[in-house]
């Protein structure tokens, strides 16, 4: 079943697909497996292109940026840590950073875990690799039932990478409404994550 906004509620199929993608990514990391990379490419390249065209790129630029992203996936696969992110999350962050490098003069600084000032996660939460996987299933579940007005904003933000101001003027609603709908949406997803299994 596909909801109007494209987050399916079919958790089992999604789980199987996620696991397959993760296996492929690990195979690329560990053995430079060409076939595994081709499968990743077949899965992600067309979707990355869709995402980049949504951002307003021409088809050619979008394929260029997609190729740069997939090249980074190929080169940096050994940095993928399945306990911290799913394959699709990891590839999303690479695509985002490639886009920022390309289109932006501004930097997006990130915390550095090797920094002596870095405060690590509690061991209690750090060790719960399995719970991270359950988290993703819960996030999917919560997203599949978000009201359309909240989902629209989430998609414009993540998918079209629009700023809050751009969303506000495009939907012709006040900036405060954009922000409060976001807070509502994240509140629901967080509540779902806090349900104890």
């Amino acid at each position: 079943m596909t909801s109007a906004d494209g987050i399916r509620q079919d958790a089992a199929a999604d789980k199987a697909r996620s696991e397959e993608l993760e296996r492929d990514l690990l195979a690329v990391a560990n053995t430079r497996d060409l076939q595994a990379f081709k499968r990743l490419f077949a899965n992600f390249a067309p979707r990355l292109k869709f995402f980049l065209v949504k951002r307003g790129m021409t088809e050619n630029t979008a394929e260029d940026v997609m190729q740069e992203t997939m090249l980074k996936v190929w080169r940096k696969a050994m940095l993928f840590d399945g306990t911290k992110a799913s394959a699709s999350t990891w590839i999303y962050t690479i695509a985002r950073n490639v886009r920022i490098d390309r289109l932006r003069k501004e930097l997006r600084p990130e915390p550095d875990p090797n920094d002596p000032c870095f405060v690590p996660d509690d061991p209690e939460t750090g060790e719960q690799a399995m719970s991270r996987k359950q988290d993703r299933e819960r996030i999917r579940k919560a997203m599949s039932v978000l009201p359309p007005d909240q989902m629209t904003i989430i998609k414009m933000s993540f998918f079209e990478e629009k700023s809050h101001g751009e969303i506000s003027s495009e939907l012709n609603i006040p900036l405060g409404t954009v922000k409060s709908r976001m807070r509502l949406a994240f509140g629901k997803i967080r509540a779902e994550l806090e349900v104890t299994s």
Binding site: G6, I7, R8, L34, F37, K38, F44, A45, R47, L48, K49, V53, A62, E63, M66, Q67, M70, L71, W74, R75, K76, M78, K84, A85, S86, W90, I91, R96, K105, E106, L107, R108, P109, E110, P111, D112, D115, P116, C117, F118, V119, T125, R136, M143, I154, K155, S157, F158, E161, K162, S163, H164, G176, K179, M182, R183, F186, G187, R190, L193
Partner: protein, 223 residues
């Protein structure tokens, strides 16, 4: 560290999708370095984005074979894995997390503060690559008992407490806490302990001061 005030979800989302101005992103990233809670929220948001990516409809590729061939051809020379991270983490022993340390000219103890008002001084930091970034980034030092004159904001203001604490209409902010303020909020922070309160402040639009000190501060903050 017992952090009680965090980055708002809407601000975190703008950080995640790369639309938050660099000056504000520095403050968010510095807080993320010391706040596992907010890092968990970032992970949640990136998972949401990853799900949306995986669920999106595939576009047709014009040159899939060519792309693949070029990746395999050019791909094997290994890009040095995050070489910038190899640089010693805290060059100047600034005692602050890296996203901020990278922009500090010296340690927090040796900042050449510039006085604004009695008991209040500041130090502007480069706001972004080539100074073109939107907004401003500065360190601010408030002596014990001193007050930042009442002001409102025309945009967003993010404040991270690095040392000491202050209190204002919204509550008490201590080391590690972040105040994430929107344009409709007016406040008047007071350093409320025996130590200097040092904070990192980013704004994406000018502040508006009212009252006696406004003419003094407006030229500094109202830009």
């Amino acid at each position: 560290m017992n952090i009680r005030h965090h980055v708002g979800d809407d601000t975190l989302m703008a950080y995640v999708n790369g639309t938050l101005p660099e000056a504000l992103s520095v403050v968010v990233a510095t807080h993320l370095a010391i706040c596992p809670d907010c890092r968990r929220s970032v992970a949640m948001m990136e998972d949401m984005a990853g799900l949306l990516l995986m669920e999106s409809e595939p576009a047709e590729l014009l040159a899939a074979e060519k792309s693949l061939a070029e990746i395999f051809e050019g791909g094997e020379e290994q890009a040095p894995a995050s070489d910038d991270k190899a640089v010693s983490a805290d060059r100047y022993h600034t005692g602050v997390p890296r996203p901020l340390a990278d922009r500090m000219p010296t340690s927090l103890d040796n900042i050449p503060w510039r006085s604004l008002l009695p008991g209040i001084s500041h130090y502007p930091l480069a706001r972004g690559s080539a100074g073109k970034g939107k907004g401003t980034l500065r360190l601010l030092k408030i002596a014990p008992g001193k007050t930042i004159p009442v002001h409102s904001h025309t945009g967003q203001e993010l404040t991270l407490i690095l040392r000491g604490s202050y209190i204002d209409d919204l509550g008490r902010f201590q080391e590690g806490d972040i105040a994430d303020l929107d344009s409709d909020i007016q406040h008047q922070p007071v350093a409320d302990t025996a130590a200097d309160c040092i904070c990192l402040i980013a704004t994406d639009a000018p502040l508006k001061f009212s009252g006696f000190f406004s003419r003094l501060l407006q030229p500094v903050f109202g830009i």
